[in-house]
Amino acid sequence: MAAMSAAPGFFDEAVDEDGRTRDHYRPVQEWFDRLTLEQVKGLEEQRNESFRRQGITFTVYGGDEGTERTWPMDLFPRVIDAEEWAMLERGLIQRVTALNRFLDDIYAGEQAIVHDGIVPRRLITSCTGFEREAMNVAVPMGARCLVAGIDLVRDGDGAYRVLEDNLRNPSGISYVIENRAAMTKLLPAAFSDLAVRSVDHYGRSLLRALRSIAPPACGDDPTVAVLTPGIFNSAYFEHAFLARSMGVELVEGRDLVVDDHVVAMRTTRGLERVDVIYRRIDDAFLDPVVFNPQSTLGVPGLMAAARAGTVSIANSVGNGVGDDKAVYAYVPDMIRYYLGEETIIPNADTYLLWEEDQRAEVLERIDQLVVKPVAESGGYGIVIGPKATDAELAEARQKILDDPRNWIAQEVVNLSRLPAWAGDHFAPRHIDLRPFVLSGEQVEVIPGGLTRVALREGSLIVNSSQGGGSKDTWVLGDSGQLDQAAQS
C-alpha cells in the first residue's frame, strides 16, 4: 500500500516532512506494505466476524430505535515510542494530581486556591457540575478522579495538547482492551517484532485503586461493586466488562438498599454490605433523595451513606467542577499552585467569554474558532467556526452574549493524521487520543489509551456515533527491539 506524503498544516504521525516513515512506525509500515489488497480485506472480515461474535457493539440512538453496531476498529495501529510516552505519562500524572488536589481543596478543604485569588469563586459556584451536596464528603487519599480520561490532540507542529478533561464517567477503556485482543489475533507477527506494552492489567489496577479508597472501618477485605444504569445503557458492554475483569458484582440501583447509612445489595442469601461503589451513573441520577427525585436508576440514601463515611463512591460526586471547560483554562495555574511545577502538556489556546476583551476578540473572529458549551461532553453543542453557516454563527454569537459563562472558544486544532483503511487503500485520517489515568494510593497511567479516528475524509469528528472509529494504540517498551528492527 502506498506511503503517505506529508501535507502542510497537519502533523502526520507516521511520516516526516520529507515523506519518510518515522523510525517508530517503520516496522508497522513495512508490515502493512507487504499486505495485498486481498489480505487486508481478509483481515477486515476476520475482525468484523470476531467483534460480531463476541457482541462487541455500541448503541447508536436515533432512527426508529437504538441499534447495535459492531465496534469500528481500524487495522493500522497508532504507535507511540517509549520516550514520547514517558513525557506524556509525566504530564498526565501531573495534571490529574493537580485536579485531585483542586477538587479536594474545593469540596473537603479550605478552598485555599480561591482564597489565594488563583481561581475566582464565582467560576466555581457557577459550574453546573458543582454539587453542594458533596461539600465536606471526605474521599480517602483525596482520590476524587479515580478514573480520568484526558483527551489529547497534536497540533500542526506535532505538539501534544490537552483538549479536555473527563473526570466524571469517562468511558472507552473496554475498547482499548478489546482492540488489543483483536489485534493480537489478527496480526500476531507484528507483536512478536515489537515490544508493545500490555494493557491487560487494567481490571487489576482498577480494583486495587477502588479497594484503596474503601472506608477505613470496613477492614482489609472491602466489597466492591460496579453500579450500572442497566442493559439499555449504551455503555453497558463496558460496565459488564469492568465488573467481569475485576471479578465483582455488577449491580443496578434496584439491587441496592440503604439502611441506617449502610449500603447493601440484595443477594440470594439476604442483604450483603457494599463498601466501594464504582458508579457509572451520572451525579444527577445517583440518589433521588438529594438529586433528581424522578430517577429510578439511583439508590435513595446513597449520598447520606457517603457522607457518613460508610461507603466510598468513585468517581466522586461533583467532579464536574473539575472538567468544566472554563475551569479547564485554569488547570495550568492549578499545577503551578499545588505542585509548584510548569505544565508538561499545555492546553489548547482557550478564550474565556466573560472576560470582556477576550469576548470581543472571539465575537470578531468567531468564524475561525471553535465554540463549546462548558459543561457538555461527547461533542454536543460544539460550533466549528470554519464549517458553520452564517445562521449558526449568528446563533452562537447570541448565545455567548446571553450567557458568556456558559461558553468558551478555542483556536481550531488541526488534529494529526494517521493512515486508516478507506475501502480499498490506506489514506490519512485525523485522530485524537484518550489515555486513562487511575488515582488511588498512587496515580497510574495505562499505556496508550483509546485512539479515535475520523473515518470520513477531511473530517475532524472522531465520535463513534458520528462516523468515528478507533485504533489500537501501541506504546513501545524501552527494549532495544525497535532499534534492531529499524536497522535491519
Binding site: 460480531r52 461474535r53 463476541q54 457482541g55 470496613c218 477492614g219 477485605d221 472491602p222 466489597t223 460496579v226 442497566g230 442493559i231 453497558y236 458492554f237 460496565h239 459488564a240 466488562f241 469492568l242 465488573a243 467481569r244 465483582v248 458484582e249 455488577l250 449491580v251 443496578e252 434496584r254 439491587d255 438498599v257 439502611d259 441506617d260 449502610v262 447493601a264 445489595m265 440484595r266 443477594t267 440470594t268 442469601r269 439476604g270 442483604l271 450483603e272 454490605r273 457494599v274 463498601d275
Partner: protein, 339 residues
Amino acid sequence: MLARHAEDMFWAGRYLERAEDTARMVRATLLSTVAEPPAQAIDRMQNLISTLRLEVQAPAEDVETMAESLTPSPPMLRSEAGLGIDVQAAATRLVVAPTMAGSVAFCIGRTRENFRSLRDQIPSELWEQINEFHLRLRQDDFPAAMEQDPFQTLDFIRVSCQSLTGVISSSMAQGEGYRFLVLGQMLERALMTCRLISVRYPEHDGSSYDEMALTLRSVSALEAYQRASQSSPLGSDVARFLMVNDSFPRSVLYCLRLSETQVEALASNGRPPPLQRLGQLRSELEYTDFDTMVADLPRHLSDLEAGVRNVADLVSGHFFRNAEAFDLHSQAITPGVSS
C-alpha cells in the same frame, strides 16, 4: 450472588432447555409425518403443539408474552403456528418465528437476553456461543434452510444447544450461578417430559410401535429405552421409563433428583420451602407403586406438573425475593463476605 442475577441465571436455564426440547420434539414429529397422508400429519402436528403449550410462569416482564402465546385457545394456536398451510410450514414457524413465544428462536433470544444481563458473571466463551447461535437463528436465510432441510437444521439446533451446555459445564465455575442455571434446566425439562407423556399417553394403549417410538424419540430416549428393555414397548412401559427411570437424564425422577441436589447446595441453612416440596415430589414419584399410578395417570401427571411449577414459585420466593421481605431494622446485614 445478587438475587437478580440468580433469577436471570434460572431463566436462562429454563429457556435454553425449552429451546432444545422443542427442537427435539419438532424433529421427531416431522420424521413421523414423512410418509403419512396430510390429514394425519396435521393431527400429529396439532398434537405436538398441544404438548408444547405449556403454562410457563415467567418474571413480570415475561408474563404477558408468555401467557399470550403459550396458553392460547387451540384455534389461535392453529393459525399462529401456521396450521392449515402445511405441516412443514408449521414446523418452520415453531422453530424460526422470532416473536412467537415458545419458538426455538424466541427461547434462544430470551436465553441471550438473560445472559446479556449476566455478561460479568458468565465466561466469555459462553457469551460468544449464545450470541453466535442467536444471530444464526435470526439470519434472513435461516427460515429457508429450515424449509429445505429441516432435519439438518434441527440437528444444528440440538448440537448448538448441547455445545452451550458443554461450555457451561466445562468452563463455568460451579458456584451458585451454575446451580441456578442447572435448576432452571431441570425443572423445565421435568415439565416438558410430563407434558409429553400426558399428551401422548392416550394414544399408547394398543397403539403401534411407531407411536411408541415417536414418544421416545421426542426426548431422544429411544436408544436408551431399547437398551433398558428388550421387549417391544407398551404404552405403560414407555410412561414408566420416562417418569421413574433413575439413570436416563430426561426422566422426571432424574430431573427432580438433580434439582434437589442443586437446591440442597444452594440452601445456606436448613430445609427451605423449595427443598421440602422437591423432596416430597421426588419421594412420592419414587416410592409410589407405578402400577397404581398408571391406573390414574392423567391425574398423577397433572399433580406432578403442578408440583414442579410450585417448586419454581418457591425457588423464586425463597432466593429471588427474599431481600424484599426483609424487615430492614431487625435484619443484620452480613458484613462484606463476598459470595
